[in-house]
């Protein structure tokens, strides 16, 4: 019956203001800068940068810009299930590619 909690969540209550989003935007720009910087350090660094900073950036966009922070658990689960599925597809595919 968690659904009725969903009904109750009133989305229009506390709205974050301009400032927060601008801060997030600045963080995104900085992270982009880091990513570019790291990619000059060589191939391995670039790949590590890709693997860590990019999801972080995407996470920020999801969490703040896409308001995931302010949604109930359902949407978070939806996103996690999707990413999890993709991750499993990826892993299983590599059980072939990487071991041929």
């Amino acid at each position: 019956m968690s659904e009725h909690a969903e009904h109750a969540v009133d989305h229009t209550q506390e709205h974050p203001g301009y400032g927060l989003f601008i801060k997030v935007w600045i963080a995104l720009l900085i992270l982009t800068g880091c990513l570019v910087g790291v990619s000059h350090l060589g191939q391995t660094a670039a790949v590590w940068g890709l693997l860590t900073l990019t999801p972080l950036k995407a996470g920020l966009v999801f969490y703040y810009f896409m308001h995931l922070k302010y949604e109930g658990p359902l949407f978070k689960i939806v996103v996690l299930v999707t990413l999890g599925t993709l991750l499993i597809f990826f892993a299983l595919l590599f059980s072939d590619v990487a071991f041929r």
């Binding site: 969903e6 982009t32 990619s39 703040y64 810009f65 599925t85 993709l86």
Partner: protein, 227 residues
């Protein structure tokens, strides 16, 4: 003998409700209220399909990259990283303006909301223009699928450029769709179809635009930086 589940009767104020345009009569049962949550849920589920759509391409990318690391490295070197980075900034900023437009609508600041949305449109078009120049340069150098020049490159590099054009191209298509959607939103804000107490469409349009942004966040390192 067969008994129906015990049903009590509650008065229902529901009629077919043509409010809103994504959901039509999507109404939370018994509340008589339009169901913004439901609309957002629908949108998020749609975004799921978009994520998986691009996810498929990312999987293809990693598969091929695993097979051809050197060729991908070399192919990446041919791309113009500066343009890629500029485009990232452009798109990030456009994402910001969308979300600010929502804040503005929530505060009933119509003019500002329109300005932010207009800014997004401009930035989106800028992105496309830069992308256009980038592609044009590639074509100019004979780097396009099936080109004679490409055929002389090692197989892995042909795949790299195949993926590059497919993924940035498909992303570009999404940018164009997103611009169209946000254009409509701008129109609706102007005509007060989107206003302080009803902005679910703007939110959904924004969600779409952010997702397009997120995809680009991944494309940048995959093609321009870490390849």
């Amino acid at each position: 003998m067969s008994a129906a589940p015990e049903t009590k009767v509650i008065p229902s104020s529901l009629g077919p409700d043509s409010e809103g345009s994504t959901g039509a009569s999507s109404v939370t049962q018994g509340s008589g209220h339009r169901d913004d949550f439901g609309s957002r849920l629908g949108m998020w589920l749609f975004l799921v399909t978009e994520m998986v759509l691009f996810g498929g391409l990312f999987i293809a990318y990693s598969y091929m990259r695993y097979r051809y690391p050197a060729e991908f490295h070399h192919g990446g070197g041919e791309l113009n990283a500066t343009l890629g980075i500029i485009n990232t900034l452009v798109l990030l900023t456009s994402s910001l303006t969308v979300v600010l437009a929502i804040v503005a609508v929530q505060r009933a600041e119509k003019k500002r909301a329109m300005a932010f949305l207009g800014g997004t449109l401009v930035l989106g078009v800028t992105f496309l223009v830069i992308k256009g120049f980038e592609w044009a340069a590639k074509f100019h150098h004979g780097l396009y699928p099936n080109s004679a020049h490409l055929a002389t490159l090692p197989p892995g590099e042909q795949v790299f450029f195949g993926l590059y054009f497919t993924m940035t191209g498909l992303h570009g298509v999404h940018v164009i769709v997103g611009l169209a959607v946000l254009g409509v939103m701008l129109w609706w804000v102007a005509t007060d179809r989107i206003r302080q107490d009803r902005y679910i469409h703007l939110e959904n349009g924004g969600l779409y635009w952010h997702l397009v942004d997120v995809i680009w966040i991944f494309l940048l390192p995959l093609f321009y930086l870490a390849a």
